[in-house]
């Protein structure tokens, strides 16, 4: 008998050891439950991180644009508006007014981590007989690559952009029969024309995007689109990606530009991420509940089976509080031991699934994230669940009338 263990612990552990089969089965049940929680939590966190990484490294988290151009109603005089149909005007591609000042303002915000001005417009890419309408994006590579990780998506060539270079999507390269080192003729609607050298091919994992994407240096873009010194968008990244919408609204209220967050522009994706998080929470909740009911059921059976022994303990001078604690400790021990096995089970399943489950391109489906905090919190949660689940059986045991209990 361990001298450092109090009476309640000694009795609790002995009762669990004596009901070995029952204990093994319930620990097995708890382990599976905890294993599912660990596996689901880690895998879904990894998947979410992967999705978010893919979405947020291929587009800015907040994008500043010029506000919509609107037609002003014709006024005849003070407070008198001409009765006429006001048509929405066509939206010209125009530069953001005083964009260097806005960029400085954005850089001064503590939540902002990177800011990059860009210019975007449509041009025609021509190579021999083939031509495609493409989106031309003029960028400052140093700052832009901190927002959209173009180098990470380069499949052929390099992410080099001098004033004579261009990076294009792999599908566009296929359509034009071009590859790295080839020349590409870009013709803008305004009549400007430049021949650039392809330095890299990018694959953003989306066929449509890969068919339209082209990156050139900012000055080259400005020159082609006839907007010397102008930019059409300012792209940004922030510290807390989930605060993007709030920050975008703050910026919009404080400046003359329109601010779109990734949450607003990817509403469906964001909803899917949230739905996944809710589903994960619900699954964890219900698994936790089934574990709790399992522990409670086993301990209630134990109380019934041990009612005579509880009666004897009471007759020997054991207090109601001590009996209560004997069963609470059993619940806590079951939860804790089950959580240890469950955490190992969940981690093993996660490592195995990470090795087996691959994306179509052979890359990992989700990053393997095994954080110590997940195991600590799970063990803590399982122990607390065990204690709470043991509450009803423990109270029942403590309230047992010794006379009735001994009589059986």
């Amino acid at each position: 008998m361990n001298r450092w263990l109090p009476f309640e612990w000694i009795a609790a552990v002995r009762f669990l050891r004596e009901g070995r089969l029952q204990t093994i089965f319930i620990i097995g049940g708890i382990s599976i439950g905890v294993g599912v929680i660990v596996f689901m939590s880690a895998m879904l966190a990894g998947l979410e991180a992967n999705f978010i990484k893919r979405v947020l490294t291929s587009q800015p988290q907040i994008q500043l644009l010029t506000r919509d151009q609107i037609a002003r109603p014709l006024r005849n005089g003070a407070h008198e508006v001409e009765d006429a149909v006001v048509q929405r005007p066509s939206q010209r591609v125009i530069s953001i007014d005083q964009w260097p000042k806005i960029r400085s303002q954005m850089l001064a915000m503590s939540e902002v981590t990177a800011v990059s001005p860009t210019i975007a417009g449509s041009v025609l890419a021509v190579r021999g007989d083939a031509s495609r309408a493409v989106t031309l994006t003029g960028i400052e590579p140093d700052s832009y690559f901190n927002i959209v990780r173009v180098p990470d998506y380069i499949t052929v060539g390099e992410a080099r952009l001098t004033s004579e270079d261009i990076i294009i999507g792999i599908e566009l390269a296929k359509n034009l029969g071009a590859t790295v080192g080839d020349k590409l003729n870009l013709q803008a609607a305004g009549g400007a024309n430049r021949v650039l050298t392809i330095t890299g091919l990018v694959d953003f994992g989306n066929k449509g995007v890969n068919q339209r994407t082209t990156f050139v240096a900012l000055r080259t873009g400005q020159s082609l689109l006839g907007m010397i010194g102008g930019v059409t968008t300012i792209d940004m990244t922030i510290k807390d990606i989930y605060a993007a919408e709030d920050i975008a609204q703050q910026i919009q209220a404080a400046t003359e530009v329109e601010a779109d967050s990734w949450i607003a522009t990817n509403a469906q994706f964001f909803t899917a991420v949230q739905a996944q998080a809710y589903t994960n929470t619900l699954i964890r909740l219900f698994v936790g509940l089934s574990v709790a009911f399992g522990i409670a059921a086993v301990l209630i059976v134990s109380v019934i089976q041990r009612s005579k022994e509880i009666g004897i303990l009471r007759a020997m001078g054991t207090s109601r509080g001590q009996i209560l604690r004997v069963f609470l400790v059993q619940g806590g021990v079951l939860g804790f031991v089950g959580s240890l096995f469950g955490a190992a089970l969940g981690a093993f399943a996660l490592v195995y699934w990470h090795a087996v489950a691959r994306q179509a391109d052979g890359t990992e489906l989700f990053p393997l994230i095994l954080e110590r905090s997940l195991f600590v919190y799970t063990a803590l949660l399982a122990t607390i669940t065990g204690l709470l689940a043991a509450m009803a059986p423990a109270v029942r045991a403590a309230k047992l009338d010794p006379v009735v209990a001994i009589r059986g």
């Binding site: 008998m1 009476f7 004897i312 020997m316």
Partner: protein
């Protein structure tokens, strides 16, 4: 005059009070037990002997009347105080020995001391071993309860009842399930303890041979003590 360990005054016990099935099982019981006395309580089945023993053992409460243990009126005590008094003053030996099967003989004997002090100690273990030696089971100290014969288990139960050095041991037909030889050995063991340490015994039995070997016999019939 010997010191009084137990006194019952006009003790009644009824069940289902206020219901059509109300039943009074004990009527105006007056009983005294002196320190060091070995009393036999006899009577037919259903006469109220076990109910009386449960009330005396503070496991049950009388409907009316007074119960005094070492001169202390039980009615004035709360649950925690009753539990403490029961643990320190009274030892129990039941008919079905009722050892805790998860524990060894030594640990069963240690159990009342452990519940009282909270943690095991060398002193508690040594006392358990002494008590087991007293009942002739020192060699079985490490045996689990289920690995001993009925007579051996009952002797362990006697040792456990003595663990807290109680003033009073209540034995509810402790020999009821034992063969004659084992029953005689267990009775003699209790008698020996009574003689050596002065512990009072209240023994419920159907065995008239054993009852006649006690200091005094009280007969309970239909919930009353027959004069």
């Amino acid at each position: 005059m010997a010191e009084e360990i137990l006194k019952l005054e006009k003790v009644c016990k009824a069940y289902n009070i206020g219901l059509p099935t109300e039943t009074e099982v004990l009527h105006d019981i007056d009983l005294k037990l002196d320190h060091g006395e070995f009393l036999a309580l006899i009577g037919p089945s259903g006469s109220g002997k076990s109910t009386l023993l449960n009330i005396v053992g503070l496991l049950d409460q009388p409907t009316s009347g007074r119960l005094l243990i070492k001169g202390q009126d039980i009615a004035a005590l709360g649950d925690a105080e009753i539990t403490h008094l029961r643990g320190h003053t009274i030892g129990f030996v039941f008919q079905y020995h009722l050892l805790i099967s998860a524990f060894t003989a030594r640990e069963n004997v240690m159990m009342p001391m452990l519940a009282d002090r909270g943690f095991p100690s060398a002193e508690i273990e040594a006392r358990a071993d002494r008590l087991l030696a007293q009942v002739g089971l020192e060699k079985f100290a490490g045996n689990l309860a289920n690995n001993m014969s009925g007579g051996q288990q009952q002797r362990v139960a006697v040792a456990r009842a003595l663990a807290m050095n109680p003033d009073l041991v209540l034995a509810d037909e402790p020999t009821g399930n034992l063969d004659t030889k084992s029953a005689d050995a267990v009775f003699e063991l209790m008698r020996q303890v009574n003689r050596d340490s002065g512990t009072s015994f209240l023994l419920v039995t159907h065995n008239m041979d054993l009852a006649r070997r006690c200091d005094r016999i009280i007969e309970v019939v239909d919930g009353r003590i027959r004069a």
